[in-house]
């Protein structure tokens, strides 16, 4: 299984950010084809020192190919454009495979 991870640093206006994130962005993500699971974590702190992070979203797909197909789909492109419209300055994207 492959997952795409979006890690968000704390935005300037967290309330405004969260409203767009949960009301607009998450519904767009849920429309992407082949999405098997979505897990969103609200970051609260760090066991050693502080943290710069605010939210983390993990999008699970069957394979790297399924993830690529989702990103290349019309729904994926719409979600990607939306992401860049409100989170370009705070998001880091990476993907990987689950270890057995």
């Amino acid at each position: 299984m492959t997952k795409l991870i979006a890690l968000y640093r704390r935005p300037e206006d967290a309330e405004l950010f969260d409203r767009h994130y949960f009301d607009v962005h998450i519904p767009l993500i849920r429309k992407t084809p082949g999405l098997r699971k979505l897990e969103v974590t609200r970051i609260k702190g760090s066991p050693i020192g502080g943290t710069e992070y605010h939210l983390m979203a993990e999008m699970y797909y069957d394979s790297p190919e399924a993830m690529n197909a989702a990103n290349a789909s019309p729904e994926g492109k719409t979600a990607g454009r939306d992401l860049m419209s409100f989170a370009a300055g705070v998001v880091t994207l990476f993907y990987g495979d689950l270890e057995p």
Copy 2:
């Protein structure tokens, strides 16, 4: 549900790092009390540009209190000392709560 996230940047010697990580560190993590689930992701890349990340581990606990108790336990302290012995320069730790 609460999860503790350990995000590892690419180490200098990934083979040596992985050997210690999977043979020594993960077995120590599995011994921490209250651990409900462990998910390790091998990072492969980013959909936009590259990534500095190598591995991500997610440790799930019932609550922040259960996570704190695990970290404060003898097994948790042993795992923490081990972490600092091989990954102090590459690991970022943070925790948060799963959104419903």
